[in-house]
Amino acid sequence: MDELLGEFITETNEFLETVDTQLVVFEADPTDGDTLNSIFRLVHTIKGTCGFLGLPRLQFVAHAGETLLGKFRDGTLVATPDQVQLVLESIDRIKEILAELEATGSEPEGDDSALIGALELAAEGHPAPSAASAAAPAPTPEPVVAPPVVEAAPVSTTGLRWDADLGRELRPGEVSLAELEAAFLSATPDDEIDPVATSTAANEVAAPAAIEPAAPVPERRAAPEMRAIKDDDEDAAAKGGAVSSSQTIRVNVDVLETLMTMVSELVLTRNQLMQMVRNTTDSEFKGPLQRLSAVTAELQDSVMKTRMQPIGSAWKKLPRIVRDAARDLNKKIDLIMDGEATELDRQVLELIKDPLTHMIRNSCDHGLEGPAARVAAGKSEMGSIRLNAYHEGGHIVIEVSDDGAGLSTSRIRDKAIKNGLVSEELAWTMSDAQIHRFIFAPGFSTAAAVTSISGRGVGMDVVRTNIELIGGTIDLQSTEGRGTKFFIKIPLTLAIVSALVVGSRQQCFAIPQLSIVELVGAGSASEHKVEVLNSARVLRLRDRLLPLVDLSEVLGVPPRDPSTSESTSAFVVVMQHSGQLFGVVVDEVFDTEEIVVKPLSKALGDVGTFSGATILGDGSVIMIIDPGAVYRRVGQAEEVVEEALEAVQKKRGQLPETTSMIVFQAGGEQPKAVPLSLVTRLEELDATTFEQGDGRTLVQYRGELMPIVPADPYAPIATTGVQPVLVFTYNGLAAGLAVDKIVDIVDEALDIEMAADRAGLLGVAVLKGKATEVLDVSHYLSLALKNWDDPGVNKPAKHIVLVERNPFFRNLLSPLLRSAGYEVEAVDTVSAALLCAEYRKPSAVLTDIDVDVASARRLLSDDRLAGTSIVALSGSPDADATGFASLVRKSDRESLIAAVEHAANLEIAA
């Protein structure tokens, strides 16, 4: 592509962004002559350059737009929103053509006559139709190319035409308008426009043949560019005259990047020198080095500045977006921008543009209500979206707030539960702020309808991902009915980050400070202790459990010998990523340093654990840990555990049913367990309230006296402090089992591998890889409640036969049924059950159907059990239970009791 053309495209794109913003400002206040003037000038420049470069389509569109703008400027027309829309449409058309031009190098074919016609019609003062509706009428025959343009307008405006117009204007407004115009004319000297106009005119005359006028091009560029950059100084300069053209130059971004790299290296070299000199007591280098250091610091600052751009340049498109959204949605929206001058690295700037645009659209669409709803809520019709940017400790904070309806906590909660992001129980214990954060979860959208603007459910998680990609964080604060405020915190630059240097297995690594929440000492002497739940390590931090992962695991270094791990000191770096908190165990913590991030070579691209490398002051290279990789590792650790469990179950041939067991310690480290279904409650009772009576320990519990027995006969019940107690209830009587510590609740297939020869013990099973004693609850109940299994105590019991081949379940279910008030005959075969029935007809029969469903069916057809309900028991909820009264899962205590009750009642009715 022609170099001239390339420059033209870059330049024009910059102009157009400015025009977009200014037109919106102008629409809001059509009397703002200053804004109109600069819009006019920009469009005019585009037109002029197009003519010079031989781009007729662009030229004609720009010309027609300019004509209309000219009419606004000289006051013959007062801009209506429709007319502004028309100008915006022409700007959009110019953008389209430009995009094509950039891609192909030549102007695309196309017909703009409808748009031009509409613009001309509007310029003649007809009520403006939109371009779309103007497609039908034939374009007015007025010659478009003809030069009777309005360039000369400024001079003639002050004259007669004003009066004519003023005649129908209100008096007060008219005066200020004239003043404004006058002020404007004096403030912007003619030479600011005229050289452009004349040079363009000259170019138009010289037409495409002219190659020579290279000079006017940069000159033309200089003036508007100042506006594009928009600095306070520049505004002053513009008012002062056209002297400022030498104050800005266009520098290739690559040059700046190279400069930045060089300075980074200089900083590193300086650090190295400093370290060397620091080690010698008296050195002649000290003085010069001090100066070198100071100069380097200043140089670094200055170079950083060249990369800095005001955040306002990322916001330029927003007024137009808000305006269009407001029009589409029939809302009234005011966009307020604060802190536009806040500067940040241009690389970062590029990366936050899209997320910001997305969030603004969201605010327009979901955040703000329609005018009617707002009035009904007692707010003003005009909704406002506020953007605010400011610096805060090496970061830039961008706030996006609206005064709309706020987030609906209940809707988000429902949706989160429906999408399986959180369990229902957990959801109700979460704070509103925690619930609100679900909007950052993937695929989460509460919008009832998908609009052209937003609501496709790929919203905020993409925003969050993009922001986290550049090491930023996002949070929000919302009050229902009052509005929502998002906080985006991003680093000022990506080139230099603050990082914590840590050591793991004799090697140093850097962790970006931004992802670190806190640092916890977790050595053996520390109050925080690393605990292990089935090989998954957790840290108890204040009131929550933090999943832990060792940095060496993340790195794939073989784990440390577990026998030594207890004795060495360790630190836990608490990190946050994707809204998840987790801890990383490291051996040592050194220092925080400002590090220069260097990209990794392609050869290391497949490692994935590191986001880059850096050189420390001593010249050594260290790797920078990618927080995302650690986060993935934490997630994987969970999967590994699950996979291992599944593998074990597959090895056993089938998926055996699992039983929830509560695991605790009592009288020693050896874990003990009882089935969870037998336990009514877990209590922590104050040991000082325990009393003695009848040779037993008693406690007043819920208005009754409850006996407590120790789970381990040799471990005494505590007399001070808190005593954890498992509470069993039976027939309205409660008994407590005192234990030392409740460890875990596991859901595992239960295999009692060793039969017990001690009273009170069912046997030993492997739970979560550990040999665990499974206690016989009935033994303890009889210790606590001497006459517990005497069914005559409270009411006449119904007789139930339980057929179950597995002794564990037989022992598990019988106390359960007894505690529900039944007299249970537990047998292991169908024949035995039938034999029982011969002596006494049971109210109901429960039979296992997993082991031998064919023989279980014999119960159905046997005369001895005629009229008795037979309930099937299975480990699986979808076993074939045709013919049985009902099917119940063995582990489901509630429905088991309910089914038995139902079956027994049926018998009475019969």
Partner: protein
């Protein structure tokens, strides 16, 4: 003066006749040659940071005058046994590949040789495939053979 001029001319003539300049390096007991035009610099290894999880042939990263260089272990890449004493005291040949800096770790760096094309032979057919990938051929020197090393081929596997 005259002699110098003659020598200079003869060198030129040689160059025209088709010669190449090689830096000789030793990897294990084998003599290799890397073309001078491929080499940015030669340095002795000081400080190497291993990169956990990287491929075995990547020895680590190091700092060369403020640039981070990825070090490739030539022994590993060529399927030769690792040095018993580790990387300490090794030499590195600095090269540029796809705009990135790499260092190839070798046991020692020898001299610069100008070799004539007439001494060049393509790889023998029975050569180990590992070596065939990275070498274009062999130069017959007096008393020993010099394997050429092609840097691009050596690194393309590492970065693939």
């Amino acid at each position: 003066m005259n002699a110098l001029a003659t020598r200079h001319e003869s060198e030129l003539a040689l160059a025209k006749a088709g010669t190449k300049e090689f830096v000789t390096v030793h990897v294990a007991d084998q003599l290799f040659g890397v073309e001078v035009i491929d080499i940015q610099d030669v340095f002795s290894l000081k400080g190497l940071t291993p990169v956990p999880g990287a491929r075995p042939e990547i020895a680590g990263v190091l700092n060369l005058r403020g640039r981070i260089v990825t070090a490739i272990d030539a022994r590993c890449r060529l399927g030769l046994p690792a040095r018993p004493q580790g990387f300490a005291g090794m030499m590195a040949v600095g090269v540029e590949y796809q705009g990135e800096a790499y260092g190839i770790l070798v046991d020692s760096v020898g001299e610069v040789l100008r070799l004539s094309d007439s001494d060049f032979e393509p790889n023998p057919v029975n050569l180990n495939p590992n070596w065939k990938d990275v070498s274009q051929g062999v130069y017959r020197l007096e008393g020993r053979l010099l394997m050429t090393l092609n840097i691009d081929h050596l690194l393309c596997v590492a970065t693939a």
